[in-house]
Every structure is written in structure tokens, then in C-alpha cells.
Amino acid sequence: MGGSPLIQSLPGASKPTNASHSNPEQMEPLERYRPIIDDFDAFLAACERPLGNAVRVNTIKATVERTLAALEREGIGYEQADWNSRVLDLETDSPGSTWTSFHGFTHGQEEVSAVPPVVLDPEPGERVWDCCAAPGGKATQIAALMDDRGTVVANDNNLGRISALRFNAERLGATSLAVTNADARNYSLERFEFDEFDRTLVDAPCSCEGTIRKNPDALDNWSEGHISSVAGIQKGIIRRAIQATREGGTVVYSTCTFAPEENEAIVQHALDTESCRVVDFDLALEHSPGLTAWEDDEFDSSLEKAARIYPHQNDTGGFFVAKLEVTA
């Protein structure tokens, strides 16, 4: 629960509300979270505001200091996130058409999307699996955190999205990435010389409720049935991730959604079926603890160590992150 509120005044927040952005009716599915979210009205109001233009500094190509100097030279204003000096909010409407982007010094990546690799905390030389990696923002962030030394297996089941992943990896200069196209649920390590990873990131496909500020139509096809079917896939992926990670290794599970069925319930399923435990992590970004109960379900008390990041807490998108240690 620690952490300071980060950016005090986002450029995005001061813009007049975009008329084409979400209207209250579109927010209806979020009503189910009223009992679990403090200051629900502030939460809803935040969901209706568009987001700013966040980028991550890619330290494979340039230091933070040099990137900031290059932005200043281009006349582009920026604000550094309090919790992470590599995360910037840019005062431009086209963060992909800057010299810093062209050189691969920056990569457009939502602020909360930079959280899971930081929680994963990989070290140079390790073997890391990003099992749902496209379009590659987090996989390249993992490579950067490892000083681009070691092996980052960036997998995705969607061949079309892999082309975006490859484009981003090359622009950002990530030489430690090996890209594979497979279903993470029955992923085979036979293609490599090693048989387990040190760390694995499961940034699971999800109902994306937390991206409503970026994609105003994110809730258009919302249904409990969809949540339930995507939860089945998430359970398969988290189990394979734990099996493919060495004893004492780390698995981080994250989604960009609020639904407990896709978050705490998935981690609970992992606790029930695989050898792992939920562990603490530091996150200097305001957040709420994971839930220990939702509707008729109860979850292990260790789920409180997970983090729920709501849009009104730091003026970001929504996210869920849990850190697991593999115990056998």
C-alpha cells in the first residue's frame, strides 16, 4: 500500500473531455466493482478521462539522462513518473513520431504496463519467459532490465501480433530475445537447450476492463460468459508457467482488468494445483491489496500481497499484479 501519488498534473487530465470518449452507459459493467473499490465515484470519473501519452525509456539504446536531453532538444515536454525514472509522460500527441522514438530511445507504453517487468525483477544472464509477449513492450523492458544479456523467450500464440513484436524488438535493439509462436498452455521447451526458466511473466490475455481510458469501446462486448471463458485460458497458462520455472524461481501474473475471476481466482487456482506461494513486493505506486473474497468465493489470505491498481489512484490505466515463488 506504500507509495506516493505520482504525476500530480498530467497533460491528459487537463484536456477538455473528449466528446467521443466513453459515456456513463458504457461504464455499466463496472458497477459490479462498487463494493470493492474505495471512492467508486472517483474511480468512474477517472475511467471516463482519456490517458496521457506515456513512454518508457529503452536503456538498451540510451540512458535516461541522454533521452531527456534529446527530448529537450526536440522541444518536447515530459514528466517523469515518481515511482520509475524510466517512465515518462510526453507532452505530444504523436509520441511515435519523435526522434527519440525513431532512435529507439523511447517506446510508447502505458505507465501501469511497465509495472510487471519491474515486479519480475530479472537479472542479467538469466533465462526469462514472457509467455504472452506481443506486441513486446514488456518483453523488451525485461531485456533492458537485464542489460540485454541473457535469454528472453518472447512467445505469443498470435502470428499477426508477432510481427508487431518483432518490429518493436528490432527498433529497440533487443538482441537477447528469442521469439516463438505457440500456445503457452502446452508450451514445449524441447526447442531450446535448457529445460526451465529462472523467471516467467504471465501477462495474460484478459477482458481488458482496465484499458477503458485508452480504448473507449473496451467494455462493448463485456459479458460474464466472456470472463469465464478467458479465465479458463488464464488458468492453463499460469499452470504451465509455474511448471516451466525452476524451484525458487519467480512467476509474475498480471492482467489489465479488474474482474476477480481473472485475477485472484486465477492465482488461487495456481495455489491449489501447483507448487507455489504468493510473495510480497515493493511498489512505489498507490494501489490496493488483492481481494480475499469475491461474491461466493474466498481466496487465500496471501492474496492480499497482490496489487490492484485503479485508474483514480495514480491517474493511469487499471492493472492487477501478483508475484509467486515456485516452491518445488
Binding site: 538498451i60 539504446k61 541522454r66 536531453a69 534529446a70 532538444r73 526536440e74 522541444g75 511515435g96 513520431s97 519523435t98 526522434w99 522514438s101 525513431f102 532512435h103 529507439g104 533465462r127 540485454d148 544479456r149 541473457g150 535469454t151 528472453v152 508477432i162 518483432r166 518490429f167 524488438a169 528490432e170 527498433r171 535493439g173 533487443a174 538482441t175 537477447s176 530475445l177 528469442a178 521469439v179 516463438t180 509462436n181 526447442r191 531450446f192 537447450e193 535448457f194
Partner: protein
């Protein structure tokens, strides 16, 4: 299959000519020599990297672990096009490793850099170095920064920045 080039998989480059089993395949030594001889990039920069071929002549540079051959989507990044008369480095390789280059680097001013990034060819009479593939660079925050690969012929610098990487930027 073991004797030919297979477009579906990555094969690690042989260390030297003596180790070569596939006709026309570049060797690690040739690749490193090219970067050293033409651009002055010190060979030690590549000590921790391996080089791979997938498809005819496309060379990739990789820093991680992998057995050879391996059938995956990508291994590190593309760095060089071989199996043609003049081997051509990629824009992304030059951006990543071109900071170590000392030779065949052409420094562009702001307007020239802008045109180069947008994919335009331009007349540049002042270059008195070798013709052929050059590293185009400009100054960013007090240091020289590679932009991409250019082809210099007959007083003209042709931008080799691939279409998908071209951007219209402020000068």
C-alpha cells in the same frame, strides 16, 4: 536437409571457412571482418554474440542461448544481408551497434537527417570517402547517433531506411 539452406529455421554461422558445410553461407569471421574493415567496429564488441542465417542470406545477431538449428520466429535481430555482391547492414543493426563505428560514417545536419529518416534520397557532393553502404548519423544531445544505412553513389546519398521505419520528423 542438413546440407542445404533451409528457409524455415535458423542455422548458426560456421566460425570460419574450414567449418562451412552449406554453400554460400557467410562465416562468423567474414561477418565480423566486414564490420571491422568497413566501419571500424572492434571485433571484441561481438564476443558475446552468435550469428545465424534464416532464408537465403539474411543474417541475425543474438545474445542468448539456443541450439543450432532451431525453428522459431526470430532470434535476436537481423543485422546483415549476404549472398549478394555488396553485403548490406540493416538499419536496426546500425542503430544498435553503429555507435562503435569509426569509418564510413557520414554526419548529417538537421535538415539532411530529417530527409534521410523520411526515406528521401539527397545530393551530397562533399563525401570523399568510399562509395557504397555508409552509416548515416547525426548529433543527438552532444553525441553522434546513427540513423540508419545509406547507399552513397555518384554524389547521392540514398536512404535505405525501410518503409515501415521511415518517419516524418521535425528537423
Amino acid at each position: 536437409m542438413a546440407d542445404g539452406n533451409d528457409g524455415q529455421r535458423f542455422d548458426r554461422l560456421p566460425a570460419t571457412e574450414a567449418d562451412r558445410t552449406v554453400d554460400g553461407r557467410a562465416t562468423r569471421a567474414e561477418v565480423i571482418d566486414l564490420f571491422a574493415d568497413r566501419f571500424g567496429i572492434p571485433p571484441r564488441i561481438f564476443d558475446d554474440y552468435t550469428f545465424w542465417e534464416k532464408g537465403a542470406g539474411k543474417i541475425w545477431i543474438y545474445g542468448g542461448d539456443a541450439p543450432s538449428p532451431i525453428e522459431i520466429e526470430a532470434i535476436g535481430m537481423t543485422c546483415l544481408r549476404t549472398r549478394q555482391e555488396h553485403w548490406k547492414p540493416t538499419t536496426d543493426f546500425v542503430q544498435r551497434f553503429g555507435t562503435h563505428a569509426t569509418d564510413c560514417v557520414i554526419e548529417l545536419d538537421r535538415e539532411q537527417a530529417r530527409r534521410f529518416a523520411s526515406g528521401e534520397d539527397q545530393d551530397l557532393e562533399r563525401w570523399d570517402g568510399d562509395w557504397g553502404y555508409l552509416i548515416a548519423a547525426h548529433e543527438v544531445a552532444g553525441q553522434r547517433e546513427p540513423i540508419g544505412v545509406g547507399l552513397y553513389v555518384h554524389g547521392e546519398l540514398r536512404s535505405m531506411v525501410p518503409k515501415g521505419r521511415q518517419r516524418d520528423l521535425e528537423s
